[in-house]
Amino acid sequence: MAVLDSISTGKRSVADRPPPVPRKRYPKWATRAPLLPALIFLIIVTQLPFVATLVISFMKWNSLDPAGRGFAGIDNYVNVFTDPDLRSSVVNTIVLTASVVLISLLLGLGLALLLDKKFAGRGFVRTMLIAPFLVVPVASALIWKHVLYNPEYGLFNGVLNWLGFDAQPDWISTMPMTAVVASLVWQWTPFMMLILLAGLQSKPVEPVEAARIDGASPFQVFRYLTFPHLRQYLELGGLLGSIYIVQNFDAVFTITSGGLGTANLPYMIYQTFYQAHEYGEASAAGVIVVAGSIVIATFALRVVSSLFKEAK
């Protein structure tokens, strides 16, 4: 996380300082050679394709019309921003990512705090709580769509029935976005919980004991000791969660098939590319996603860290 801190604060943290040079000097190539496999591989599989995306995004290219291929200028970008479907998919991606990350971080924090206490059967409870993270996302989406949400034989309506309610709502068509968010929160809360639990368990015990003896209330202990310690774990969880949820395709594809106003960017790009064969437009959308996520990540990290700096 040292990298993150140095990006967000503009300062180099202690951990980021290069380690002391070993007594024996290695030749230049020997110090860098171990890095090469990773570097070359990443450049070929992620960097070059991204450059290609950039190039294609300025081209007019539809595979159904190979003769019409050519330079398009910023037409694709204009299309992306003016096409109401694409525009709403940008909004959907933001809403989906923000709500899933925030809700699952909050729930994960609550669960991690509960699990941090010692009690009988803690291991068992922890395994049960982690379980949703271990289910393959497509399977999880199918479970939510049919086992829980289904209006005829779904569990939710079964429970409503059993409790004596007559209402048998069709969950997915009445609240499509909430349905997708709920299923993703269920999957991601365990992940956040794991990261925050790791943070809680690496926390030194002595300061808490000292604070207790000095008469600090449990809330004060949380506010001034636990929370600042957890800060970078919250950041890590939020960052990783956003990275993965911005890319979510499985849940949207399975639960709503992008219908009912839930199509997010990955789904939209999938459609533009594989069904409409508009390679240029799909690439432009991809570039916008990258730009957007870098801006948001940098901005969010700065805001979060400065908030904490003031609180300290």
Partner: protein, 277 residues
């Protein structure tokens, strides 16, 4: 008293959270008429393996299963080796542009896959022209992309672990006459094992769960599809085979569960180590 209350509270939450999974396994064992009954009951009096048989025979699940296992394991082994080397270079040696490289890794991780699907599709298609095993419709193409997307995170996480090993140890090993190579594989590698475990779980889950690339790269070669796609075989517009879907989902969850159980203890300390870096 207060403690008992908390315990009960946690237990109830855990039960609610895990309930859909219980339901998934239960549905896999239920006979077909009970699954779509309007009065679902949380038990079954007539457990049956029919759904599992259908999943394994009709959809050739075994084949898909094997494909998924191959892809995930190859990705895990390669990412451990490559990220270990890279993390060592990034923490142990100082050279110009070290910080830049670290930040670059972070940025790579932040590039959402959807931005790369289009060119990756073309890349894999041209790779396939010269090396068919790594081109479209082959498992190799999946290995390549999953490796690329799990490496940055793995390197980043391992950094903390390598940094935690004291430099004195390396000096001692050198004084005792150990070669560079020997130090790397016989001293450092075992010492960062907890970190390797934590990263391998995430690489495994990443490759195992993938749906987007499996769907876009494996187009016509049905025999090379992976599990998440196999599930869709049972989803039909008119008549879904729920028993088989749930049986398939249950089977898919088992390897992840086993893998996770094996490394559970180390995972939490592994994640903590990643932040310390």
């Amino acid at each position: 008293m207060k403690r008992r209350l908390t315990e009960g509270f946690v237990l109830i939450i855990a039960a609610v959270v895990a309930f859909p999974l219980f339901w998934m396994v239960l549905s896999a064992f239920k006979p077909e008429d009970e699954i779509i009954s309007a009065d679902p009951v949380p038990w079954t009096t007539r457990p049956t393996l029919d759904s599992f048989t259908r999943a394994l025979t009709v959809a050739n699940f075994g084949r898909y299963f094997l494909n998924s296992v191959i892809v995930a394991l190859v990705v895990v082994v390669l990412s451990i080796l490559i990220s270990f080397l890279a993390a060592t270079a990034l923490t142990r040696f100082r050279f110009r542009s070290r910080t830049t490289l670290l930040i670059m890794l972070l940025v790579v991780q932040m590039v959402p896959v959807e931005a790369l699907t289009v060119p990756l599709f073309f890349l894999m298609r041209s790779v396939g022209d010269s090396v068919p095993a790594f081109g479209l419709n082959h498992l190799g193409s999946l290995v390549l992309v999953h490796l690329a997307f799990s490496l940055p995170f793995a390197i980043w996480m391992l950094r903390g672990f390598v940094a935690a090993v004291p430099v004195e140890l390396e000096e001692a090993a050198t004084l005792d006459g150990a070669s560079r190579f020997r130090f790397l594989w016989q001293v450092l590698f075992p010492l960062v094992a907890p970190g390797l475990v934590a990263t391998s779980v995430l690489s495994f889950i990443h490759a195992w769960n993938d749906f987007l690339f499996a769907k876009t790269f494996i187009i016509s070669a049905v025999e090379n599809q992976t599990l998440p796609l196999a599930l869709q075989v049972f989803v039909k517009p008119d008549q879904n085979d729920w028993g088989a879907i749930m049986a398939g989902s249950t089977l898919m969850t088992i390897p992840v569960l086993i893998f996770f159980m094996l490394v559970q203890r180390r995972l939490v300390s592994g994640l903590a180590g990643a932040v310390k870096g």
